[in-house]
Amino acid sequence: MSAGITEARADAPVVRKVPRGRTRVIGVIMVVIGLFTLVAFGLNTSSKAHSALTFSPVDIISNAPWHLGTLTLLTLWTNVVLGLVMTAIGIEVLWRQPRRGVMGRFGLVSVLFLLALLFWAVRTPGPSQVSFIDLTSILVGSSEVTMVLIFGSLSGVMCERAGVVNIAIEGQFIAGAFVGAMVASTTNNYFYAAIGGLVAGGIIGWILAFLAVRYLSDQIIVGVVLVTMLSSLSSYLNLQIFTPYPNLNTGNVLGNFAIPLLDKIPIIGPVFFNQSAFFYLMLLLIGAVSFALFKTRYGLHVRAVGEHPHAAATVGINVARVRYINVVLGGAIAGVGGVAFISQQGQFQPGITSGLGYIALAAMIFGRWRPSGAVVACVLFGMSVYLADNLQTYNIPISTEILTMFPYIITIFVVSGLVGRVRAPAADGQPYLAG
């Protein structure tokens, strides 16, 4: 070949990074959020206003062996400081334009924003303790919806890591919730209900896999169709079955199971160790999915199939089989999530899942297709969903809809690539045709 040519830049490693402009944009956004917090939630409040913060849950205060007292803060200065911290983080991002960790900083700013909002909402004109934020009960209260979200996003991780977009998480929730309610009512046993939900969600997963893998259908369209169909079907069946036979939808709520001693730990105890069986199952599942995906041989195959199915096929991995298995398992996990939801809500009602499946999907994206990241995102989103549903309780004078939008607004920032490199598995959503 051409003998005289010497390579110039061919040897330099390929460096890919987020275009600097985008990092700048997110820096500006964080500065704006910070300044907004500073002014609206800080300077805007009376200098005498106080916000009280406690960690002792009201409902278990009587038998809790611990009491952490109440922290009373001057709303103005607390929020000014929070706002300044957020602004500083934004300026730091603007200034240094770090390549990594922008996502984490953005998450932190989001959490600080929620906190500042809470402080502002519960402020009282003087240092009385009439209204206060009880962080522990917010954590406990939101853990219910967070748990359901985590089931959903683990389902998403399972499917998308294998290259199948599971936008039907919502549908699997519905199927699981419906079947779960029915089985729980007839057997009075949530173990059987969980099995029922597992099968129901698995079947929906199988339909998705069948159409996506066998018939190479557009996975997003199939997913949307499944959700629409299941939400109508569940309304219809609700009318046909649950309305005439209310004893099939009795709505018994699964009680909590406190783990001795551990549940007495301040804050952590009520949040982690006085929960329902489904919560403990979820904790196990987080570990199991992470381990399976990132440590095992099977997980390596799954990720290879999601990134480069042809490469996987050339080393003898059966792409179709891996996708079938993962999507069915993913569907089953979301199905159990639906049962978990019912175990807290009691009765099934049409529309009960109210878009949680989509928030779970968003959390999975925010979590960069990793179980650990998804869990953090679910906690954040779960809290905002919980607060949106319980604004009255916390006396927050803003409309529900604003808070309901919160997870989606954050997701838009995340998927726009402003926050850092969010990269889906390369073959995510792409049908694989052998040959």
């Binding site: 070949m1 390579e7 830049r9 061919a10 040959g435």
Partner: protein
């Protein structure tokens, strides 16, 4: 390993891709399979690798008839394949890629990366293929990625390596490195089946050459055969390897580029103050190793990339930072570097692709609607004039061969009145016959008085086509020379040397 293919026939519907092909590869031999694109080389390799199943014929390994249900089985029987498009997961580490599908495991199905890494280091050492097992594949240069592919095959104890067009993506230095790897592998007893259509390489590396054409073996040759003999065997007729052209009679400057500065995608300076003149009736060939700013320069001229400073003037008219539409209308013809991504809309028909650059113009559009009759007539004429091989003008261009796809672009760009033609890598990935054809067309339009700027990283092409040769290095023009200078001299310019006194 001694591999024998006996009478392999593979059909796709009525099309016979492989017609009773028989080949024998001896242990330690580098056996080259030479053929044009579409001759059936890749099909044959996929049959051998268990990805496709032949209708007739058998595969013998060391004299024993063997059938592979899938490629995993082929791998277990000692066949390793280095694919043209690497079968590597970009986000995985080298170690993960190498062990994929054959992972050493610990308890609970865990992958034993420690053992994997040790194994890779051992094989690296044994065959002197150095690569860091922990590096992420996408961060490695192409040449090293290919090394990982080879390593992967060797780690599965491959005795026969299939290399499918391995040089297509490599720089000349990487090609040299690959060839020495191939030689040392053969010396250690591995058999190598090397697929290529590049005559120089084939002659340089092979022990035996088998030529296939239209699915059949048309002959075997010794590496001592001349390039001309090999080419005519491959194409099936006499091939002129040099471009026939008369000396140019350059006129006035058509395209004047002054102190052009252009950034790349990362915002770094890619074109750093380039000035060039392209004259009427002249081909200015722009040589250089890929990645020295040629792509950005072409994009800036054609309106696809913003010019930071400097000017582009077309026949006295300022066309700096015009839109692509305005650039086309001003008479700039563009044959883009990546024909499938930028030159064609693959899912659209041949006829539609032929009017992509003039969709709003009469006669192809009337009163805001498309004039299908004129579009079809145009397509039939172009197919005829430019010898585009297609079953129908309604056929999506994706179903055409690479050579014919390029002909579609050439036909589209050259069938309107141009001032200047900008062509990037106009013959990349094409077979000898198509290269000959594209070169002929480029010379033809030069003779008609157009100015041409031809960007190529193939030195042969630059020297064959250029009336003048400009060499680009690190965003600057390192020299403009006459095509009569030596290859070495141009090579030095490509390396950034600007002082040619001592050559």
């Amino acid at each position: 390993m001694r591999l024998e293919l006996r009478g392999i026939t593979k059909r796709f519907g009525s099309f016979t891709a492989n017609d009773s092909i028989s080949i024998t590869v001896e242990p330690g031999q580098i056996h080259c399979l030479l053929g044009e694109n579409g001759a059936g080389k890749s099909t044959l390799m996929n049959v051998l690798f268990g990805l496709l199943h032949p209708e007739e014929g058998e595969v013998l390994i060391d004299g024993e008839v063997t059938k592979f249900a899938d490629s995993g089985e082929a791998v277990r029987r000692g066949i390793g394949m280095v694919h043209q498009h690497f079968m590597l997961v970009p986000v995985f580490s080298v170690a993960e890629n190498v062990v994929l599908g054959f992972e050493p495991t610990k308890s609970f199905d865990r992958v034993d990366y420690k053992r994997a890494t040790e194994e890779i280091r051992r094989i690296s050492k044994e065959f002197s293929l150095e690569v860091d097992p922990d590096a992420i594949v996408e961060n490695l240069p192409i040449g090293l990625q290919q090394r990982v592919e080879i390593l992967k095959a060797l780690s599965h104890d491959a005795e026969l390596l299939i290399l499918d067009e391995p040089t297509a993506v490599l720089t000349p230095q990487e090609i040299d490195a690959l060839m020495s790897i191939m030689r040392s592998l053969a010396a250690s007893g591995k058999s190598i089946l090397f697929i290529s259509h590049k005559l120089k390489e084939v002659k340089a590396i092979s022990d035996v050459i088998t030529v296939i054409r239209q699915g059949k073996v048309v002959g075997t040759a010794e590496p001592t055969a001349s390039e001309k003999e090999l080419a005519s065997l491959m194409v099936g007729r006499e091939v002129i390897l040099t471009v026939e052209k008369t000396p140019s009679t350059p006129g006035a400057n058509v395209l004047e580029i002054r102190d052009l500065v252009v950034h790349d995608d990362r915002g770094l300076i890619a074109v750093n103050g380039v000035s060039l003149d392209v004259r009427a009736g002249e081909i200015l060939a722009l040589a250089g190793v890929q990645g020295n700013g040629q792509t950005e320069l072409v994009e800036a001229i054609t309106g696809l990339r913003r010019v930071e400073s400097g000017t582009v003037t077309l026949k006295g008219r300022d066309v700096t930072n015009v839109t692509p539409r305005q650039a086309l209308d001003a008479g700039i013809g563009h044959i883009p570097e990546d024909r499938q991504r930028f030159g064609l809309v693959l899912s659209m028909s041949l006829a539609d692709n032929l009017v992509l650059n003039t969709p709003k113009r009469a006669p192809f559009a009337k009163h805001g609607t498309r004039n299908l009759r004129a579009i079809d007539q145009n397509a039939r004429d172009r197919v005829e004039d430019f010898d585009i091989r297609a079953t129908s003008i309604r056929e999506p261009v994706s179903s055409l061969s690479g050579g014919n796809q390029q002909k579609v672009i050439v036909a589209r760009e050259l069938s309107r009145t141009l001032q200047v033609l900008i062509a990037s890598q106009p013959t990349r990935g094409l077979d000898v016959g198509s290269i000959e054809y594209v070169h002929h067309q480029i010379v033809q339009q030069r003779n008609e008085g157009n100015g041409s700027l031809i960007v190529s990283s193939e030195l042969d092409e630059v020297m064959a086509l250029g009336d003048r040769i400009a060499v680009m290095f690190a965003g600057k023009i390192s020299g403009i020379v006459d095509p009569s200078v030596s290859r070495q001299a141009i090579g030095l310019l490509m390396a950034g040397e600007t002082n040619l006194e001592h050559v």
